[in-house]
Amino acid sequence: MNNCAERLYNGLIKENPTFVMMLGMCPTLAVTTSAINGIGMGLSTTVVLVLSNMLISMLRKIIPDSVRMPAFIVVVASFVTIVQFLLEGFVPSLYASLGIYIPLIVVNCIILGRAESYASKNPVLPSIFDGIGMGLGFTFGLTCIGIVRELIGSGKVFNLQVMPRSYEPVTIFILAPGAFLVLAFLVAGRNKIMANLEKKGKQAAKPQGCAQGGCASCSGCDGKVFPTGEKE
């Protein structure tokens, strides 16, 4: 049980996918126009992540090593399709506002990354908790960014007016440039904190994925999905 709690802590804080690892930048930028969208996207990703971690962990001894990437992709894509139809059926408003980014959960680095680096090597229960931790960490990150953008961009949080009526919303924050702007300051703040930590001699998890030299550094996304038998 201790192991499971450690997994939750790891996903939420120590290796938080948004603030520490900088994974899954596309949805982070695209859907955080409001806090609700952030939560919706985060929870959808969490569901896919938990289910795919669970199934991949169950099948880890059955899937041959050479075809593991296509197998992972099929598993993830199937769960994404299920989640997509559930959202379409039960929360059509969220489905409409997230749009194409729901099927694109398939190519989210976090999911394949966790499948490759954790679920395919560990038993079922810790893998499930790893998925929950990472997913909630991602949801937390998206919601925070969503709250900031919605607050500055429309003066509301979760669709409730919080700024005084006299506040003139800075609309650009809920448009495309605002996403880049908020993320830029976020990464800068993170760099600052990490530099301070390093001065104190503490080691922090290094960012992976997009922010550091392209997707190739993202574990599990080395591009060779199907085994060709060629050694690079």
């Binding site: 596309c26 199937s78 694109l104 550091q212 997707c215």
Partner: protein, 191 residues
């Protein structure tokens, strides 16, 4: 013809894939340090997305729709794209070594580029015919190339600027992207 032109300008400039759709952020941040590598990446993306939108269009219209398996689109598309990228890589290596030399390094990076899957899904969502889909794919990829090449040009200049320590690297690139994104709003009146 006019309709195709509207699709092309719409996806290349007005709804630029990187700056307003946020697809393909990874290579946009990662491979935009030099203009020539950025152009190489752009070329590879144009090549793959154009072929991918043709193939996924064929599969969707002639296999998935007649058999009523449309709901499998995400699974089928991602597998087709992953296989296609590797196939293209092997094909280029055997038959066109010069082109492979220019684009080869970037090809494996494209599988995880969400722009490819994004275009395939948009084509289905907007009910494009195969020709419209290919034009849309090509234009989207051209838009990506425009964005990444401009970004690389700016980054080469930024190298010599005095930037606050915490803003070095990714943050300054994101700030630049924000400004470029504002500039691309200027196109929104075209159509």
């Amino acid at each position: 013809m006019k309709e195709l032109l509207i699709i092309a300008i719409g996806s290349a400039l007005v709804n630029n894939v990187v700056l307003s759709q946020f697809l393909g952020i990874c290579p946009f941040l990662g491979v935009s340090k030099k203009t020539d590598t950025a152009a190489g990446m752009g070329g590879a993306v144009i090549f793959v997305i154009t072929i991918a939108s043709f193939i996924t269009g064929l599969i969707y219209n002639y296999i998935l729709v007649p058999t009523h398996f449309e709901f499998l689109q995400t699974i089928v598309f991602i597998l087709v794209i992953a296989a296609l990228v590797q196939f293209v890589e092997m094909f280029l290596k055997k038959t066109m070594p010069p082109l492979y030399k220019a684009l080869g390094v970037y090809l494996p990076l494209i599988t995880t580029n969400c722009a490819v899957l994004g275009v395939a899904l948009t084509n289905v969502q907007k009910d494009y015919s195969i020709l419209q889909g290919v034009v849309n794919g090509f234009a989207t990829a051209v838009g990506f190339t425009i964005a990444i090449v401009i970004m690389a040009g700016i980054r080469e200049k930024i190298e010599y600027n005095d930037i606050p320590e915490s803003f070095k690297g990714t943050p300054i690139v994101l700030l630049t992207a924000a400004l470029m994104s504002i500039a691309f709003f200027g196109f929104s009146g075209i159509i």
